[in-house]
């Protein structure tokens, strides 16, 4: 509950174009937005560029708009991040596909300090990425938001502009689909 109010105040300050609040929002959400974008584009360098672009566009968007429709800060950030990724693919004429190769997953796990943890994570990342890229984009997106970045159903519903019921169904189907793929991996 404390975090909720802190977020509300931070968002209110940000809407007033408070620069300090913007940098605080960056510190608080950069990891999550990076992760969200990384799982969408599948490339660490691209994810970094697009994450930086997301935050800059958020600041510009707040400065240009008379009123901000999004009710929460995460909703605003994720929505802008989605648009940034879509624009990126439009410009580069790429199809939105996750393509994790050996080198990329190596880069990811290098971030972990403990070698044993790094090894376990590497295995999980490799398997999950391998299977997740076979999922529909909306399934992948909803799984990242719900289980990796731990957004609430209401927040996901706002970001995706869907009802909470639809989001629940989507999460259930996405989890079931991923479970099936993981079962195939074991077999």
């Amino acid at each position: 509950m404390k975090g909720f109010f802190q977020d509300k105040i931070l968002f209110a300050k940000l809407k007033s174009q408070d620069q300090a609040a913007f940098l605080e929002a960056y510190d608080r959400y950069v990891d999550k937005i990076y992760r969200f974008i990384f799982f969408k584009v599948g490339d660490a360098a691209e994810a970094e560029d697009l994450t930086s672009a997301t935050f800059l566009k958020t600041w510009q968007y707040i400065g240009q708009q008379e009123t901000v429709d999004e009710k929460t800060l995460p909703a605003l950030l994720y929505r802008i991040a989605r648009n940034v990724v879509i624009d990126h693919y439009r410009q580069s004429n790429k199809t939105e596909m996750v393509s994790i190769d050996e080198e990329e997953s190596q880069t990811l796990v290098d971030l972990k300090q403990d070698p044993s943890e790094a090894f376990a994570l590497k295995a999980d990342v490799e398997i999950l990425h391998k299977r997740m890229k076979e999922l529909k984009d909306e399934y992948r997106e909803v799984l990242i938001m719900r289980f990796v970045n731990e957004l609430s159903i209401a927040e996901i519903a706002e970001i995706l502009e869907k009802s909470k019921g639809n989001v629940r169904v989507l999460i259930f189907r996405a989890t079931s689909a991923l479970k099936e793929l993981m079962k195939e991996e074991k077999d």
Binding site: S16, Q17, V30, E48, L111, V148, M182
Partner: protein, 259 residues
């Protein structure tokens, strides 16, 4: 299902490098600084952004909104109190009437004025009793009993206040500016003052005596007011039929005396 979710949860360890984060932070800081002057954001601006947009629109006209709110509260309260004046127990606005009376009493500090208010409220109870008797009201007997109790309470308070006042000013002679000129409603028969109220006696008689007591208080005749209140209490105790007969008899007696 749980295993898949647990594995997904484990993926939140994936984070960009600290060096990249700091570098990007610095770049963003410079970019936003270049675009705008660093301004200290006021508390009101933040509060404005915390409010829903329809509400924050009003905040740009604070004086007008404040005036409207004050006007609405004052008009609403006055209208409710006016409307509640003619209510009786069981009516929705009766509570407002009671609250209004209590507030009025709480805001009055002069003992004489408090006594006058007690009498006014007692008179209100009498009026309400006659309405409850005349109109169909749920649990009529209980309502009348409650009103009677409230009436007695107000009368007792008035008597107590007036008695204290009479004791504190024993030398004060009653002012009788119109004493030589008899009131059209009262006739002197021997030593007694008899109230002539026509055929409509009972509750009306009590109200009349209370009104006269209030007038006597205004004339600083505390003793006279106490006598009137005593008479009103007795009138309230005597059944209406008896009172009607006795008053009519007194009327006849008064007429013969004047002849």
């Amino acid at each position: 299902m749980k295993t898949v979710v647990a594995k997904l949860n484990g993926l939140n360890d994936i984070v960009p490098s600290t060096e990249w984060k700091e570098r990007t932070r610095e770049i963003l800081r410079m970019q936003i600084n270049a675009g705008a002057q660093a301004e200290k954001v006021g508390v009101f601006e933040v509060i404005d952004n915390l409010m829903p947009s329809w509400l924050s629109g009003l905040s740009s006209k604070p004086v007008a909104v404040f005036t409207l709110i004050v006007l609405a509260v004052v008009t609403g309260s006055y209208a409710s109190l006016r409307a509640s004046r003619q209510t009786k127990p069981g009516d929705s606005l009766y509570v407002a009437k009671m609250v209004g009376e209590k507030t009025q009493m709480a805001l009055t500090f002069n003992e004489v004025d408090k006594a006058k208010l007690n009498l006014e409220f007692a008179s209100n109870r009498v009026e309400e009793m006659s309405r409850v008797s005349a109109e169909p009201v749920q649990q009529k007997d209980q309502a009348i009993a409650d009103l009677n109790s409230s009436f007695t309470n107000q009368i007792d308070q008035a008597k107590s206040r007036l008695t204290k006042l009479a004791q504190s000013q024993p030398a004060a002679a009653p002012v009788k500016p119109a004493a030589s000129k008899p009131s059209p409603k009262t006739l002197a028969v021997g030593d007694d003052k008899v109230t002539v109220t026509g055929a409509n006696l009972g509750k009306d008689n009590v109200s009349m005596q209370i009104a006269e007591a209030q007038q006597l208080i205004e004339k600083n005749d505390i003793q006279g007011a106490l006598t009137k209140i005593e008479a009103a209490t007795k009138s309230a105790d005597v059944p209406a039929d008896t009172k009607a007969t006795s008053t009519v008899k007194t009327e006849e007696k008064a007429t013969s005396t004047s002849k």
